[in-house]
């Protein structure tokens, strides 16, 4: 496949270019949006692999401008970035460092060589769900979320946001108890294929309420509590 690679960091650009070439792709690598626009005229790429944040703009804007199937990479991506990328038709959205294997897998999906039903990719990231579209191109939905709150009202806003993506009622129960357990805090949720873990960073005491712990223990198969300072990890199998 003819790939236009846009990455402003030289060493990463070289490594990705070589890696993708070794897997049979024809790669033209550039470091900015301006270079990408110029390269596109003569190279006629079939797909775009781009960093999100570039010196002269956003890789997402470039993808929308060029109208190519695209994969985005970023070290600073947010959930909202991933959602916007998905809505624009991104094939995939990787948090750096993105492995060559992952990129090639995504490119295979793009080429339509992958078939089958929904697949969980990269369980170590715990948040991957691939849903084939009608034309065989898979879109990856990012199922990770970080929320912060500083009062009861913002905690409720956070819960409403999380409730939209948490797949089952037990997840929603635990999230609601965590959000109500402290006046301010931060919660990061990664959803794995078969299990999930939640981290709570609290400005004040965290989960001091025995009843909350009992409730969560009663509703989860196994609950392991560990603490490191202000961090709490709660998980079940």
């Amino acid at each position: 496949m003819r790939l236009l690679l846009v990455e402003d960091e030289h060493s990463i650009r070289v490594a990705l270019s070589r890696g993708l070439s070794r897997h049979g792709h024809q790669v033209e690598a550039v470091g900015s949006l301006a270079e990408a626009r110029e390269k596109r005229i003569h190279f006629h790429p079939e797909a775009l692999v781009s960093d999100l944040k570039l010196p002269d703009g956003s890789g997402l804007d470039l993808a929308e401008e060029l109208g190519l199937p695209f994969i985005l990479m970023t070290g600073y991506g947010t959930f909202d970035d991933a959602v916007r990328a998905m809505r624009l038709g991104a094939v995939d959205f990787f948090t750096k460092p993105a492995s060559i294997q992952s990129l090639c897998q995504a490119l295979e999906h793009l080429a339509g060589r992958h078939s089958g039903g929904p697949t969980v990719l990269d369980p170590s990231q715990g948040m991957c769900l691939v849903q084939p579209l009608a034309d065989g191109i898979a879109v990856r939905q990012v199922l990770t979320r970080a929320v912060s709150w500083h009062d009861a009202e913002s905690a409720r806003v956070c819960f409403d946001q999380l409730a939209e993506i948490l797949p089952d009622k037990m997840h929603r129960l635990v999230a609601s108890e965590l959000l109500q357990s402290t006046s301010e805090g931060r919660l990061v949720i990664n959803l794995h294929a078969d299990s999930w873990t939640a981290w709570l960073c609290a400005a004040v005491d965290w989960l001091p309420q025995v009843e909350r712990r009992q409730l969560i223990e009663d509703h989860t198969r196994r609950c392991v509590w560990r603490s490191e300072g202000a961090l709490v990890e709660c998980g079940h199998g």
Binding site: R156, F159, K169, R172, L173, S176, E177, Q180, Q209, E211, R212, Q214, L215, D218, H219
Partner: protein
Amino acid sequence: MDDATIEVWGSELLWPQDLPVADVIDVSQVELMGTWVHEWLRQHPEQAITGASPAIRKQLVRANVPVVWCDHPRKPLSGGVSNSERAMLFE
């Protein structure tokens, strides 16, 4: 008891909200009950509760929430199985 008012609480009570009050609260539809409901019930001590699933009952008992269990016969579900019978068999 025939004149007792009965209110049915909804399925997911995860976030503080206004709850309807009555002589008897039917919690048969409640699937998830957050700890904030414990606090509500403590502010309404000796509240009569009916239709609790085993999970909800266990939760309230474990939290020492002072309620009055009132599993009087309710209108049975279709097929002639009452809510408490259904809970006993399937939960």
